[in-house]
């Protein structure tokens, strides 16, 4: 049903309910609205299936050409940064893991690296915890890239790609479930280390996964790499060159598709990335196809890193299996263990604090309820997330809770480049452009 109102501020407004386009055109003709003007302003989203969450794009169309594009965000703002100011540093992990829900382990690591830098304990994180962090991040990179490519396929109309991508991603999520207990929102990486060691049998499962994945990724590449439809939809689409990326602050696969091998794992290593053997894949096409190739190649490199992590973890001496910093004033007092009522504090620890040592009970209580104090100051810790530079600006006033936490989320910054990629192109390519930047609205809005 078409209705027409004439508010003074907006001019004549037509409300379109669907299936009544002819009525709108007839009404506009009848009213003599700007004859010859084909401009059409379309709201794409915020509930559009191809906008990766609740992203709204206001498109000004001239026939099928996009003359103006304005992204509108904020529909998923949950105040995570503000909430973190009211919780201890350890509890903060539980919040920030929910920001960019496709790469939770990166959010956790960025926050923990910032906290540890503030505490000045970066060098004292146990080797095993750091290797587990790298392992989890690279597994997460694979699951995130698979999701990016799967939804990219779906949005271009290829459901096989979606189903294959999700099926492969499930294998990573199974590993996450085995190691952390959860498929997402893990809160597994904590300030000082990780919440628990790998369970028995995890290394074997990881090695099995590393053996299985190349063939599955190969299948995906066979389906897409030279697919004429896919090439037509992605080659020379959503062009953004190096100057554009620098100006708009774009990082990650979009930047590497312009030929610049800028990867924080190589250029400003953290978590011991300098000790792993891997390459930084680049393409020089500056388009959506190049970004796809970069993501595919990055998954291969992640598998290489995961294999090296598995070797290191398997080679570790049994006595050296600490995964939390040895400082009793910071490290979580209890190790987790599986009891009859699920995962919780280990029975040995409960026995110790409840039956043997009053001081241990006080210590546990203080550390868990009050938290540890972090010396005043500010730091900025940046890591290479699947979408680009994920930075955590942490400010402490010396208390037990963060004074201010700000996340520089790559999706937020990369979305700014959409008008540069889309304006002047076809409306159908907007979808390819959005998908190729791979925004996650949870991270954009926080």
């Amino acid at each position: 049903m078409t209705s027409r109102t004439e508010p003074e501020t907006e001019g004549r407004v037509y409300n379109v309910g669907g299936q009544d386009w002819d009525e709108v055109v007839a009404a506009a003709d009848e009213a003599g609205d700007r004859p010859g003007d084909e401009r059409l302003i379309v709201n794409m989203g915020p509930q559009h299936p191809s906008t990766h969450g609740v992203l709204r794009l206001v498109l000004t169309l001239d026939a099928e050409t996009v003359t103006e594009l304005r992204p509108v965000i904020g529909y998923l703002h949950t105040g995570i940064e503000k909430n973190m100011e009211f919780r201890t540093w350890t509890q903060g992990v539980t919040f920030c893991t929910r920001m960019d829900y496709l790469s939770p382990l990166f959010n956790e690591t960025a926050f923990c690296l910032a906290t540890e830098q503030l505490l000045g304990i970066t060098d004292r994180i146990p080797e095993r915890a750091t290797v587990i962090r790298v392992l989890m991040m690279e597994l997460n990179r694979i699951s995130s890239h698979l999701m990016a490519i799967a939804t990219f396929g779906l949005e271009l109309g290829a459901t096989t790609v979606l189903l294959n991508g999700l099926r492969e991603r499930e294998k990573v999520l199974d590993l996450f479930e085995l190691i952390t207990g959860l498929r997402m929102n893990h809160a597994y990486i904590r300030p000082g280390g990780v919440s628990q060691d790998l369970p028995s049998g995890a290394i074997e499962r990881i090695r099995e996964f590393v053996g299985l994945m190349p063939a599955l990724l190969g299948d995906m590449r066979k389906l897409l790499d030279a697919n004429p439809v896919y090439l037509a939809r992605t080659k020379n689409i959503a062009y953004l060159d190096l100057a554009g990326c620098m100006t708009l602050g774009v990082t990650g696969p979009v930047l590497r598709s312009t030929g610049l091998p800028w990867d924080l794992r190589k250029s400003q290593p953290y978590c011991g990335y300098e000790t792993y053997e891997f390459d930084v894949p680049v393409q020089d096409t500056c388009d959506a196809y190049g970004r796809y190739l970069v993501r595919m190649d990055e998954m291969d490199q992640s598998l290489r890193i995961i294999a090296q992590c598995a070797d290191r973890l398997a080679g570790h001496r049994q006595a050296d299996n600490r995964v939390m910093v040895a400082d009793a004033k910071i490290g979580w007092p209890a190790q987790l263990a599986l009891g009859p009522d699920g995962l919780g504090n280990s029975p040995d620890h409960i026995k110790h604090i409840m039956g043997q040592s009053m001081e241990a009970l006080i210590h546990h209580f203080k550390l868990v309820t009050e938290g540890f104090r972090v010396p005043a100051g500010q730091v900025y810790a940046a890591i290479e997330s699947p979408r680009g530079e994920l930075g955590c600006h942490a400010v402490s006033d010396g208390g037990t809770r963060p004074y201010r936490i700000h996340f520089r989320d790559p999706s937020f910054t990369n979305l700014q480049a959409l008008p540069a990629m889309c304006e002047g192109g076809m409306v159908a390519d907007v979808i390819a452009a959005v998908a190729s930047t791979d925004p996650v609205m949870g991270g954009v809005d926080r």
């Binding site: 100006t247 010396g398 201010r404």
Partner: protein, 243 residues
């Protein structure tokens, strides 16, 4: 929150420790007592303890790492633009392996322009601006913190601008780093910092008609009490906190 006058020690010899001690005592009291609680009695016997705010940091040279080179190069570059280093930068802080230049707001865009354009500095990328609200820091309540990266030289740098709450104006960085467009809108939205010259300083995360700036310290977190098995848990900002 009371501020104690420092004891009169003018006659004491000017040794470093005494000076440092006097400076320490002249700072505001940040919290009192052992646990920082105000709602229940602190029975620890440390109720009279006063923890003072750490003094504003200002690092002496050498800063270490590449920081000295960077400061020299910026000084040379600013001189070419007819500006002395000390006029533009009020403090330099090298802390925890990171370098911060506290820039006076009137010189922010000049400094950023030199940092970006001078080949010796080459900070091509800005990773955005983050606001911080310090209500206790009178006259400098609102801070805008910029993080810059040089891909060419593989360096990082932080610029910090502080402005009073009564005059929350900062010149926009959009002309130097267009990526700051959305970041500045976010900082306006959450902190009420006004970026003069920004092409369209509108709210970005909160609805357009929202009142207030939610991430300021004087803005409540909100929330409702939660009942669980008969017990009521107050909202997070009303729970006992250990400051």
């Amino acid at each position: 929150m009371t501020s104690e006058q420092p004891p009169d020690q003018a006659a004491a010899p000017a040794d470093e420790a005494a000076v440092a001690g006097r400076e320490r005592l002249s700072e505001q009291v940040a919290r009192t007592g052992m646990f920082g609680t105000e709602t229940t009695g602190d029975t620890s016997g440390y109720g009279g303890l006063m923890i003072r705010r750490p003094p504003a940091l200002s690092s002496p040279r050498p800063y270490g790492s590449y920081f000295d080179d960077l400061a020299d190069e910026l000084g040379t570059s600013l001189e070419q633009a007819g500006l002395a280093f000390g006029d533009a930068i009020e403090r330099v802080v090298a802390d925890r392996g990171e370098l911060t230049f506290h820039v006076r707001r009137e010189h922010l865009t000049t400094v950023a322009g030199r940092l970006r354009d001078d080949p010796a500095l080459a900070f091509e990328l800005c990773t955005g601006v983050s606001g911080v609200h310090y209500p206790a820091d009178s006259g400098r309540e609102l801070h805008a913190v910029y993080h810059l990266v040089s891909l060419t030289r593989n360096r990082r740098l932080r610029l910090e601008v502080s402005v009073p709450d009564s005059d929350p104006h900062v010149p926009t960085m959009v002309r130097v780093y267009p990526t700051c467009d959305w970041h500045e809108r976010e900082t306006w939205d959450f902190f009420g910092l006004i970026f003069d010259g920004h092409p369209a300083l509108t709210r970005i995360e909160m609805p357009d008609d929202w009142k207030g700036h939610p991430q300021r310290k004087d803005y409540p977190l909100g929330g409702i009490p939660v009942e669980y098995r008969g017990a009521t848990v107050p909202p997070p900002d009303e729970r006992r906190a250990y400051e």
